[in-house]
């Protein structure tokens, strides 16, 4: 009897905790953000009735459309560069012996144990007029006078790629690990050259890793307001800067929420692409890929 009671209580406790914590701190607030995006701006109560689509109209308004587009472009370029560096890097690492591979992966993660804000500050020192970059460029005679690297879109992208590169490499590694080497050898035996082996076998089979990597680089990149704040110029704003500004400075919560809803919808769309890419690979004879 006693044991039965303990059994029921423990079980009940665990289930209640799970449901209530996730319900109160995840499900409800996400629904509230969506709800707030349809409310009217109210400086006393943050948001109030009546319901309106005004916030979404404002998101698409010319004043914000430019900033918005710019933010998408910055994050997009960041994702492409991270992929161009991360893909060959993950490929090379995946073909190494177990020890050197573990060591290199570990070394890649070490910078992550320092606060990312502090690392962005280090990049600020690196790219400054008197920073290491310019010192080397000037002393080797490549340029006459220091370049304006800091406070440009270049610096923002440099910083974003720096922070997010490992997030690209890890899912790609997982994909490369599952890549069946015998398929590549079969391709070679059947006379496919290196380019065809890559485009017909390796690339399609690592597609889930590519999509997963892009997903977890692109979405966070849009939100990293501190990177744009510290490294960017007046115009290199990210979506995160707009949202932060609406919530903490302008205090227009409904408008800020509308921007976030856009981000949530985009996340859903990208997850759908990931799901499709996975299906595609399974059809192609690859293995199930659970990178996320």
């Amino acid at each position: 009897m006693n044991a039965l009671l303990a059994h029921i209580n423990f079980r009940k406790l665990v289930i209640t905790l799970t449901i209530s914590w996730l319900g109160i701190f995840v499900l409800m607030p996400h629904l509230m953000v969506v709800g707030t995006s349809f409310l009217t701006h109210d400086s006393d109560h943050f948001a109030s009735l009546p319901l309106t689509l005004e916030n979404y109209r404002q998101v698409l308004d010319a004043t914000y459309a430019g900033v918005f587009w710019n933010s998408l472009v910055l994050s997009g370029i960041t994702t492409v560069i991270a992929l161009l560096i991360g893909y060959p890097f993950a490929y090379l690492l995946s073909r190494m012996g177990r020890v050197s591979r573990t060591v290199l992966l570990f070394m890649m993660v070490i910078p992550f144990w320092t606060n990312s804000l502090i690392r962005i500050y280090a990049i600020k020192m690196l790219l400054g007029k008197k920073g290491l970059f310019n010192t080397v460029l000037v002393s080797t005679g490549i340029v006459d006078k220091p370049l304006q690297l800091l406070y440009t879109d270049f610096a923002v992208i440099f910083g974003l790629v720096y922070i997010l590169l490992p997030f690209m490499v890890l899912p790609l590694m997982a994909s490369f690990d599952k890549l069946d080497q015998s398929l590549i050898e079969a391709g070679r035996d059947l006379g496919a050259n290196a380019f065809h082996r890559f485009s017909q076998i390796i690339l399609p089979l690592t597609m889930p890793g590519i999509v997963a990597g892009c997903l977890i680089v692109f979405l966070p990149a849009m939100g990293m307001f501190y990177v744009a704040d510290l490294l960017g110029g007046a115009k290199s704003l990210l979506l995160g800067n707009i949202i932060k500004n609406q919530f903490l400075v302008a205090r227009d919560w409904p408008f800020g929420s509308a921007f976030s809803v856009f981000l949530i919808v985009l996340m859903g769309a990208l997850l759908w692409v990931y799901y499709k890419a996975n299906q595609y690979v399974q059809k192609k004879g690859g293995m199930d890929d659970q990178n996320l």
Partner: protein, 266 residues
């Protein structure tokens, strides 16, 4: 034959050059931080001699040290709570059937995938709605919550590998659910739980975005303090702080790796 071996050496050189460049990119900023933390000169354009003075300055900077203390407190508490709750959640999802189970797993997935900026405003909105004052409690709850999915994933992966017969045997011998959890499941999962704690601790210390939204005037944590300092100009104390953080984390990893190795020799 010679041609192949020549092109092999070439691609070998190219390979290591590429890997070297990527690591240069990853490590250069770290090297600059550590070097400048010992540099006498404030601006760090050139080396002007070894000095501990930035560490002394950091020590004397009361608001910074207080924020550092607050950050460690939040990270320690959040990691511990997230590990506890996350392990129980993993157990619930692995062992129990209950209504809304799919919703619960989806919520964990959403939590992991949502960009920090979205989580930040969801937390801000719910804290205001529930009347939770922004400060210690809001930071703690937010940090526990965003660490949860990472603990659940780590622990759940290990749970799936567990031999179900052990639990069946325990059940037959009359063990209650909570006894089974304490005496069998938890010890088996210890390495995963430890890894989850370490991951949570780092995630909590690293967070800037969510903390910026849910912090209050009464309880300042490190990223907020650092942000306001480095926005204005150069502050070499930050270099010293970064070096301390790095050494601290590396020690923590070394200790954890040792503990896991000792527990799991294979």
């Amino acid at each position: 034959m010679t041609r192949t071996s020549k092109s092999r050496t070439f691609s070998g050189v190219f390979k290591w050059l590429f890997i070297g460049l990527v690591f240069l990119y990853l490590y250069l900023p770290m090297v600059i931080l550590v070097t400048n933390s010992f540099n006498k000169s404030k601006y760090g354009h050139k080396w002007s001699g070894f000095s501990w003075k930035w560490y002394e300055k950091l020590w004397e900077n009361d608001s910074m040290m207080q924020a550092f203390g607050h950050s460690l407190l939040i990270a320690g508490l959040a990691a511990t709570a997230a590990t506890l709750i996350g392990t129980l959640m993993a157990l619930a999802i692995h062992r129990y059937k209950f209504p809304l189970k799919n919703t619960a797993s989806s919520m964990l997935f959403v939590l992991m995938m949502s960009p920090d900026i979205v989580l930040a405003i969801t937390f801000l909105i719910i804290f205001i709605a529930l009347g939770i004052q922004l400060g210690f409690w809001s930071l703690l709850i937010a940090h526990i919550t965003f660490c949860l999915p990472f603990v659940v994933i780590t622990v759940y992966a290990q749970m799936k590998n567990m031999d179900p017969n052990v639990l069946e045997a325990a059940k037959d011998l009359g063990a209650s659910e909570s006894q089974m959890f304490r005496i069998i499941i938890l010890p088996i999962l210890a390495p995963a739980v430890l890894a989850g704690w370490l991951l949570s601790f780092t995630l909590s210390l690293d967070d800037v975005i969510i903390s910026s939204f849910v912090t209050g005037p009464g309880f300042e944590i490190l990223p907020i303090r650092v942000f306001s300092m480095v926005k204005v100009g150069v502050s070499p104390e930050v270099n010293a702080l970064a070096t301390i953080l790095l050494v601290m984390s590396l020690t923590l990893i070394a200790v954890t790796t040792y503990l896991i190795k000792r527990q799991n020799p294979q």
